[in-house]
């Protein structure tokens, strides 16, 4: 591929990722079209438009230099943290529970922005941290603080899913930064000991009930287990080839809750079956493999950690969501990237994509816009 009629700026884009991703978004849009009862409004069109807008944003981001990312890391982190606190306070003052800012064409949840921001700030932190200190408390404590403060604010919203996503992104960056493995093993062991103690002594009855229902959703088919049960029915009844486009009874007759957001995978699987589900998983595999490839080829520590953290963030979304709809994880309210209808989630994931695209470019052309 030496010379081509395609302009170099176009040819340079990572089409091996963009093409499958676009296919996934269009597929998601078709599912949303069906979920709306065969209408482009209110979800299908906005879904595609948002993707187009945020793809443009990602392309612009991809031209930002490494220095700009490094420079912006702490200001962005604290700006998002302040936004998070601000929204929390506004919600408390207003007496309501508003966790978002209205930007006109979409609503923005600062907690969503925190997911890439935490990865960015930790990458910057470990990049600057002298190598010998990585294995000492000076590597652990500040990083832990950077994760814990926003996670605490999100968890009191209460939004357990997003808090977990923030923690997961941060912990993955810490893990890849080379913190001693025994700390993670010790942390895991502590978690295994604390979890049952917390279950029996720390949780309210209703919270304990939710855990039990997650273990056995059929025990409460009309209550909290309803979501999982109906989602499994939707997926299971789809079979290999699905019920056909527009024929999903679970979603159209409103048995499936949140059929256009958190449970969009179930909506899709009911109409497209196993084949549709494997296609979605395949696209995620391609995108994530592309991201891991970038991380491995990344020229320096900051880029490495940043790229791997962004991949982990997307991965966490996709994994928790699909596990949830298939009854392998509790219902925590995490949307499926690129398929669920929702501006904040689309923006977060496209920021991750844009960052990865930028890192990809740093390897080819170390200097970019600055």
């Amino acid at each position: 591929m030496s010379r081509s009629i395609v302009p170099v700026q176009v040819a340079r884009q990572p089409w091996q990722m963009i093409l499958p991703l676009t296919a996934l978004v269009l597929f998601g849009s078709a599912v949303l079209y069906s979920a709306a009862g065969g209408h482009l409004q209110p979800w299908a069109v906005t879904h595609v438009i948002r993707f187009a807008v945020f793809l443009g944003m990602a392309v612009v981001m991809s031209r930002f230099s490494r220095e700009l990312f490094k420079l912006g890391s702490y200001p962005i982190y604290f700006a998002v943290l302040i936004l998070l606190i601000l929204v929390e306070m506004l919600g408390a003052i207003g007496g309501g529970s508003q966790r978002w800012l209205n930007l006109g064409f979409m609503t923005l949840q600062p907690s969503e922005l925190m997911k890439p921001a935490i990865v960015l700030v930790l990458a910057r932190f470990f990049d600057a941290l002298p190598a010998p200190m990585t294995a000492s408390w000076r590597g652990l404590v500040p990083a832990g603080g950077l994760i814990a403060v926003p996670a605490a604010f999100v968890i009191i919203q209460p939004d357990l899913g997003t808090a977990l996503a923030i923690c997961f992104g941060g912990v993955v960056v810490m893990f890849l930064a080379g913190l001693p493995l025994r700390w993670f093993v010790a942390g895991g062991l502590a978690g295994m000991i604390i979890a049952p103690l917390a279950y029996f002594f720390g949780l309210h009855d209703y919270q304990r009930k939710r855990v039990l229902i997650f273990m056995d959703p059929e025990s409460d088919p009309l209550g909290s287990g309803y979501h999982i049960t109906q989602s499994k029915i939707a997926i299971g009844s789809g079979g290999i080839f699905g019920k056909g486009f527009g024929n999903g009874s679970q979603s159209h007759l409103e048995y499936l809750p949140e059929s256009h957001t958190d449970f969009v995978f179930a909506t899709m699987a009911e109409e497209w079956g196993l084949v549709g589900g494997l296609f979605v998983l395949l696209v995620f595999a391609l995108v994530l493999r592309w991201g891991i490839g970038i991380a491995r080829r990344a020229p320096d520590r900051f880029s490495q950690l940043l790229a791997a953290g962004m991949v982990a963030t997307i991965f966490f979304y996709a994994m928790i969501n699909t596990m949830m709809v298939m009854g392998l994880a509790p219902v925590v309210g995490i949307p499926l990237p690129f398929m669920s209808h929702g501006g904040s989630s689309m923006m977060t994931n496209m920021i991750c994509i844009g960052t990865l695209m930028a890192i990809d470019r740093w390897r080819v052309r170390p200097a970019g816009l600055s």
Partner: protein, 697 residues
């Protein structure tokens, strides 16, 4: 991979960190890949291995099967006219389980359906008692406007089910209440027994009493079904298919509907029973117990006002007196006793002198006529109802033979009838008394029994059977189910000349010098033969039995058949506390007249009903109106067992359950000489001189 190196991180350097990163990224990638494979397998497991299960569940989500209650089979009289039919109507039910705010919904329904305060109170009562799955009827028989008013507001009324359906209709209302019974929503117990989803379908009713209960299976039919596609919130998206219901089979009874209604109305304000039997087949043409209840108004359960009305009424409207009422039969047993005498070889001409009483042992038993009847043979003993004649010869013949004849003619017997229950009473004999009380039979026991007092207890059905068997000489069995070719009854083996003698004497009761001259039929060439009876309820030291407290008055009895020379119909009438047989035989006369000339009988009745305040239905409506004006929604709550079965609440028979031992000779009951009009109990004049109790000397 060098796990040891990962584990034991040496003093770090940028190069080592880079190595560590590369290793750990591979680990992370492997974990991601592994989870991806896990997700794909889980997806395949759900959609392939468990596909069938989930497809079924999705179908059961999507498709809602609504049962269409089957139309109940009609109950027909012998001529095919409906005694119970179905009426198309609009109805509204609620399903308590699906109510979100019960009080709000009830009040809203009250407004939309224009319910009265009483109806709203009754609805709340029913909701309090209802179990989650049982539908509760709000109102049936709605007009289109009110039905539509609820239907269009359904989204705001969760748990409310408006329906077009059929409801049970009894054209003659109270006249068939005890006979046919009534229908109502299935109770929790009934649903426990029969886990049929039909039982909890709104609008479906099961038989609660009488024929409706006995022939539930036959009348039920097969429900139809409607398959609809519904959303999670229950909104119907479209109809998938509908299967029509199969109506229940009709039940053909031997009852003569118009006669049943006539008899019920003719009883007027009295508490009593009328049974009419066909003397050729044993078909029961009429089986009436009054006062009664209107089965039409029981279909939605018993409301507070209704319950208050029923429980205040000392005439016990809920008790079927034909089967459940036990009465001392009084002198109506005399033809039967006479037949026993004839069979024992007593000459009908054997006479005794009646001086107004007879000494038995150290007691004097009085004849109802204190002045005495002079010389009395068997015929005179019957038509003048002379007690002394029977006292005298019963002692000669003995109780065993009399009791045997009583049982042959149907007294003390339980018949094979499709009814909820029968109280069969007592025909006493020495063995019975020994078994029951451990005492020897005394002569005065025989004396009491021969005039239908003492231990003797019968129900009105048995009296009708006795009349029909006396008339025909056949072992007629009472029948309720119509059959074009009824079984040929066996002969009782009583010589025809004996029967002819008794028939003549019974005809003389009415058409000759007897005790019921006013019972003569106003029909040419049809002579009625009958026998009066007056049964004492309390000792003469308490009441004369003629006036005073209603519950102290004598029972009035009359058994009869017509035409006397070629018996076709037999009839028994009991008027509880009617003050004597004078209350009973005019009823029997008019009912028998109706069989031969309905127009003539109807004219008499219509004239009487003017004085009574209309037909039973009209009187009940007026009473309901005055009760609701007086008590409103403050009437006491309906007792739980009444909710289940109104009949069960009134199961206690008229006579006390534990029959007291008769220790003393009872003074014979008086026979009224002048006919007492049956207009109103208070207006009845006090007849005939009342004999007083005579203490043993």
């Amino acid at each position: 991979m060098n796990w040891k190196a990962i584990w034991r991180m040496p003093t770090t350097s940028p190069a080592l960190l880079r190595q560590s990163f590369e290793r750990r990224v591979v680990v992370l990638g492997a974990i991601q890949g592994g989870l991806g494979v896990l997700l794909a397998s889980r997806l395949a497991y759900l959609s392939v291995a468990q596909n069938e299960k989930y497809q079924l569940e999705a179908e059961s989500n999507r498709v809602n099967l609504t049962l269409i209650p089957p139309r109940r089979g009609w109950v027909l009289d012998r001529n095919g006219a409906p005694l119970a039919s179905n009426r198309a109507d609009f109805r509204v039910d609620v399903i308590p389980e699906r109510l979100i705010d019960a009080d709000k919904t009830v009040n809203q329904l009250g407004q939309l359906l224009q319910l009265t305060a009483i109806e709203v109170q009754d609805l709340k009562d029913k909701l309090d008692k209802a179990h989650g799955f049982q539908p509760v009827e709000v109102k049936s028989g709605l007009d289109w406007e009110r039905f539509a008013a609820v239907s269009v507001r359904l989204p705001d009324l969760p748990g409310v089910v408006p329906q077009r359906g059929f409801s049970r209709y009894y054209p003659t209302g109270p006249s068939v209440g005890h006979l046919i019974g009534y229908v109502g929503p299935a109770s929790a117990e009934e649903y426990e027994k029969d886990r049929n989803p039909l039982l909890v379908t709104p609008g479906y009713k099961v038989g609660k009493d009488g024929m409706e209960k006995q022939f539930e299976e036959l009348l039920r039919g097969t429900p139809g079904a409607r398959r609809v596609e519904v959303t999670a919130s229950g909104r119907v998206v479209r109809d998938l298919d509908t299967r029509e219901d199969v109506p229940g089979k009709p039940l053909h009874l031997t009852i003569n509907g118009p006669l049943q209604d006539y008899a019920a109305r003719r009883l007027g304000l009295e508490s009593g029973a009328v049974v009419v039997m066909d003397c050729l087949t044993g078909d029961l043409l009429t089986m009436v117990s009054m006062p009664s209840f209107d089965p039409n108004s029981f279909a939605d359960g018993i409301g507070r006002i209704e319950w208050k009305m029923l429980s205040d009424d000392d005439h016990v409207p809920l008790r079927n007196k034909v089967l459940r009422g036990l009465f001392p039969p009084g002198s109506t047993v005399k033809p039967m006793v006479a037949l026993a005498f004839l069979e024992a070889g007593l000459s009908p001409d054997a006479s005794v002198g009646c001086g107004g009483g007879l000494r038995v042992g150290n007691r004097v038993f009085h004849c109802w006529n204190r002045r005495g009847h002079g010389t009395v043979n068997m015929a005179k003993g019957i038509y003048q109802s002379c007690d002394v004649y029977f006292y005298h010869f019963a002692q000669q013949i003995g109780m065993e033979k009399i009791a045997a004849m009583a049982k042959r003619l149907g007294l003390g017997q339980q018949f094979e009838l499709p009814v909820v229950g029968q109280s069969y009473g007592t025909v006493p004999d020495p063995a019975w008394k020994m078994k029951k009380y451990g005492k020897e039979w005394a002569v005065f026991d025989t004396v009491n029994a021969t005039i239908g007092q003492g231990y003797m207890l019968v129900n009105p059905l048995q009296q009708a059977v006795m009349a029909a068997r006396l008339a025909s000489g056949m072992e007629l069995m009472p029948r309720l189910l119509y059959d074009k070719n009824p079984p040929q009854p066996k002969s009782l083996g009583i010589p025809q000349e004996h029967l002819d003698y008794i028939h003549q004497a019974m005809s003389d009761v009415v058409n000759g010098p007897g005790t019921a001259g006013r019972a003569r039929l106003p029909i040419e060439n049809v002579l009625l033969a009958g026998k009066t009876g007056t049964a004492q309820v309390v000792g003469l030291n308490i009441s004369s039995g003629k006036g005073g407290l209603w519950k102290h008055r004598d029972h009035g009895h009359f058994i009869c058949f017509a035409p006397f020379d070629k018996p076709r119909y037999a009839c028994a009438v009991v008027i509880q506390h009617g003050g004597g047989s004078g209350a009973a035989y005019p009823v029997a006369r008019d009912v028998m007249t109706y069989l031969f000339d309905p127009g003539k009988a109807m004219d008499v009745l219509l004239e009487m009903e003017k004085g009574w305040g209309g037909t039973p239905q009209e009187r009940m409506a007026a009473k309901y109106a005055s009760y609701s004006a007086q008590y409103g929604a403050r009437a006491p709550v309906v007792s739980p067992q009444a909710q289940e079965s109104a009949a069960a609440a009134a199961d206690e028979p008229v006579a006390p359950r534990s029959q007291p031992e008769v220790r003393d000779a009872q003074t014979p009951p008086p026979e009224p000489v002048i006919e007492a009009p049956t207009l109103a109990p208070a207006a009845r004049p006090s007849p005939a001189p009342a004999p007083t109790i005579v203490l043993p000397q």
